[in-house]
């Protein structure tokens, strides 16, 4: 039987394959050869065969038939065999495999081997993928090695212990004694891994955390030595001594200093020192600064130190390196709640990051921008954010629109109305989440922004042509079309405007669509009715309205019946509508759990007006928005003054009488001009 081909030769051969099929054929052929070699229990070439199998596994081919062979290699006396065997185990034998546990004994033996490199292999494998059972069985061995004076083994044992603790947290206690003098080590490898181990223990147990707080002075000393010591060729990275160890110490200090005044005070000076003295020209220095900032922000640091930290982040934002800008934004996002004013100072730089090419940076800048919006900067910020919303990628639109809308709601003022209407429209058109109960607010906002009516109704109409599934959008759009339909068809819009019948088609479509909720249908019907005074196709509208007079939806039916009544009884007003008379229909609804009975609506107007209240549809307003009371008011306004009204509602709710007074001053100008 010829010797199995060498690993490198196999790799060379496989790479000559020109197609996937050719490669698969080569692999299958070699696997067959390897299988028969395994069956023959060939000790000499087992290592070579497993190595080849690992190569093929990396290419994506199954290699499970080599699992037991890895175990045999681990049990071999040859170092070469063990090296490949353990590698194979780490690649093929994770804890989900049944044979995994069979490794335990081998690892145990190798942990006690006379050669440290064999011990190292065992520690590495255990620390990388040991299962909970294995960790339980071997924790004692690891603990022993944690106390050895051999730093090569000690550092590995420390990380192995970290893995054991992650898998079996109850075993943490047993490693406590061995941690006693870990930090007295001079060897950086041991120091680094010890700090990692201590960090893991402190994170998992408040008792451990309290116990290890006494190490703060020692940690501070070690860190200080690293910074102050001269050039150390062994640990130097671009002029900084062992940045990995520095970062880990800073992280442990963070955990120890959190919620503890004394510890925080003890580390204050060293943090200030690192923050001011670390070289920032390369990534390595910035990595340390970054960790320092995170620590300063998390512990109980004095305000001067906090400001120092935020300023570091501010400088990061201006760094040419986009990685640095990215971490700055991430960190600022974390601190914006607690140090709001300090972060505000960097607002313009943050807003500039909205224009960054990188998606991750843009997202963070957006989140941070929203966090920074307040009453003072709303105008400027809104402009930037709307621009961003308009030009950003689809994946951002929903979140951005949501944020814009919330900002407008929270900080909007009357003087910013048109800006807000744009904001609101953008949100609604972005199809983003807009709460159902904010529809009246949106309508209010739009009403107040007179100069935007034409633009608004045009955009909303266009949106309806594309999509009628988003109910808030549809409701607002319907209302606008009903109210400003004349602007929609009159040529006031820049683009090609629809004709009346097209508009009515759209509204009727809403009535019949099963995407429309009953509330939406109500909006649509009312809008159609309102267009009877704006459009000329009155007969068509009359027909639609009369059809819905027998709708099974009670709400629609009621509206339709009343609108029908308007057609019948008040049609004479339509032919020669008295321009001095405004007809107002009120709809009263009740979202509470109990109905309102004896409902009476009263209104009073200024002296120059005359008011006529027609009979209400009912004086009971059903609970839970299950119906409305409608009432028609006719207002005579010969002097064409701005309509103002004082209204009074009285009703009985849950047995008690209720009275509500209000003033209504925002009637649309068309109602009195």
């Amino acid at each position: 039987m010829p010797a199995p081909i060498r690993l490198r030769e196999l790799i060379r051969t496989i790479r000559t394959a020109r197609t996937q099929a050719e490669e698969r054929e080569m692999i299958q052929k070699e696997c067959a050869a390897i299988r028969s070699s395994f069956r023959e229990e060939d000790n000499t070439y087992r290592c070579r065969n497993v190595a080849k199998l690992l190569y093929m596994h990396m290419l994506g081919y199954p290699a499970h038939f080599g699992q037991l062979e890895c175990l045999k290699l681990i049990a071999s006396q040859k170092f070469t065999d063990k090296r490949i065997g353990y590698l194979g185990a780490m690649l093929l034998l994770d804890e989900r495999q049944d044979v995994h546990l069979l490794m335990t004994n081998c690892i145990k033996n190798d942990l006690n081997h006379s050669t440290q490199y064999v011990q190292g292999l065992a520690l590495c494998t255990l620390g990388c993928m040991g299962s909970s059972e294995m960790c339980r069985d071997l924790a004692g061995e690891v603990e022993k090695l944690l106390k050895t004076s051999n730093s090569y083994l000690r550092k590995k044992a420390a990380l192995c212990a970290v893995h054991v603790i992650r898998k079996v947290p109850e075993l943490m206690e047993m490693f406590l004694p061995a941690t006693k003098n870990l930090l007295s080590e001079k060897n950086h490898g041991v120091l680094h891994t010890s700090v990692v181990l201590l960090t893991e223990m402190c994170e998992r147990s408040p008792d451990m955390l309290a116990h290890f707080r006494k190490l703060v002075p020692q940690l501070v000393r070690i860190l200080k030595n690293l910074i102050m010591s001269g050039y150390s060729p062994e640990h130097d990275v671009s002029g900084i001594s062992d940045p990995f160890l520095q970062v880990r110490i800073l992280r442990l200090l963070r955990i120890l200093g959190k919620s503890d005044d004394d510890s925080s005070e003890a580390m204050n000076d060293i943090l200030a020192q690192v923050a001011t003295n670390t070289e920032t020209s390369k990534n390595v220095g910035n990595a340390i600064l970054y960790e320092t900032v995170l620590t300063i922000m998390d512990i109980k640091s004095e305000s001067g130190l906090r400001v120092l930290a935020i300023n570091i982040l501010g400088r990061f934002l201006l760094n040419n390196d986009k990685n640095i800008r990215y971490v700055a934004l991430t960190s600022l996002l974390k601190t914006v709640q607690t140090d709001h004013n300090a972060v505000q100072r960097h607002r313009s730089t943050i807003v500039d990051c909205l224009k960054d090419l990188d998606v991750s940076i843009k997202r963070r800048a957006m989140e941070l921008s929203f966090a920074l919006v307040n009453g003072n900067n709303i105008r400027g910020m809104m402009k930037e954010l709307l621009y961003f919303l308009d030009s950003c990628d689809p994946e951002f639109k929903a979140d951005c629109a949501s944020g814009v809308f919330l900002a407008a709601e929270k900080y909007g003022t009357d003087s910013l109305t048109s800006l807000h209407v744009t904001a609101v429209l953008s949100c609604v058109l972005a199809g983003s989440y807009v709460r159902d109960d904010s529809v009246p607010n949106l309508i209010q906002l739009i009403t107040n922004s007179v100069e935007m009516h034409a633009y608004t109704v045009q955009r909303l109409y266009k949106a309806l042509l594309d999509d009628i599934s988003q109910q808030p959008l549809v409701q607002v759009a319907s209302w606008c079309i009903g109210e400003y339909g004349d602007l929609l068809v009159s040529g006031q819009c820049e683009e090609e405007e629809p004709i009346q019948d097209e508009v009515l088609d759209v509204l009727e479509g809403l009535l019949v669509s099963n995407l429309s909720t009953p509330v939406t249908r109500g909006y649509a019907l009312t809008a159609i009715m309102k267009l009877s005074t704006r459009f000329s196709s009155v007969n068509r509208i009359k027909k639609v309205v009369s059809i819905y007079g027998s709708s099974i939806d009670v709400e629609l039916q009621q509206r339709a019946v009343e609108y029908n009544a308007l057609f019948k009884k008040y049609d004479h007003m339509r032919a020669n509508p008295n321009p001095n008379i405004a007809v107002i229909t009120i709809h009263a609804s009740n979202s509470t759990e109990a109905e309102m009975t004896d409902f009476v609506f009263q209104a009073a107007v200024p002296k120059t007006f005359q008011l006529q209240l027609l009979s209400p549809s009912s004086n009971v307003v059903p609970a839970l928005n299950q119906g409305t009371v409608t009432q028609v008011i006719r207002v005579l306004n010969p002097q064409k003054q701005q309509l103002r009204m004082r209204i009074k509602l009285t009703y009985t709710h849950k047995g008690s009488p209720v009275q509500d007074l209000a003033e209504v001053n925002n009637f649309p100008p068309q109602s009195w001009q």
Partner: protein, 167 residues
């Protein structure tokens, strides 16, 4: 927006951990995979496939970090190879870049001006070096010299033809 996925619970155990490291070529061919969390072969393949696709789609001007599922991905391209690490939310991305760089330096010193072919033909050595530098996803040795010395000694042991005896 991140996709919700059902990740095994092990992913949630610690705050600072490197979960895995992948090396792949510009054509998406895997050259090294080191997993520090237990996952089935199927899951590993799925993650690898998706992540490779995501990273290869990144433009040169973009930063080295991206959010992917619940993890942070730190990647850097050296010549024709992408080095890609998955770290957890609380981890320091910038120092992870230094970890990657240190590994590249070690490979470079060992192979003498390393290139992708070295990693392809000596993949087991690449793993050995990684395993002397990181253990369980954490750096076990911060001195370049010490890592290379250990590898050198271990390589010498391989040359020893006679059997070793255990204690």
């Amino acid at each position: 927006m991140s996709l919700t996925t059902h990740f095994p619970l092990c992913f949630l155990f610690s705050l600072f951990q490197m979960q895995f490291m992948l090396l792949f070529s510009r054509q998406g061919k895997l050259r090294l995979q080191k997993w520090y969390v237990p996952l089935s072969d199927k899951e590993k393949k799925k993650i690898t496939r998706e992540l490779v696709q995501t990273v290869l789609a990144r433009k040169p001007k973009m930063c080295s970090f991206l959010e992917w599922r619940d993890l942070k991905i730190v990647y850097k391209r050296y010549a024709s190879l992408y080095f890609c690490c998955a770290i957890e939310d609380q981890d320091n991305e910038l120092i992870t870049l230094e970890i990657i760089h240190r590994y590249v330096e070690l490979l470079d010193k060992y192979f003498g001006s390393v290139c992708e072919l070295d990693i392809i033909f000596n993949f087991e050595k690449a793993y050995f070096i990684l395993d002397e530098f990181l253990l369980g996803g954490e750096a076990q040795e911060t001195s370049k010299k010490n890592v290379l010395k250990a590898i050198e000694q271990a390589d010498l042991l391989q040359e020893v033809r006679h059997r070793m005896k255990s204690k």
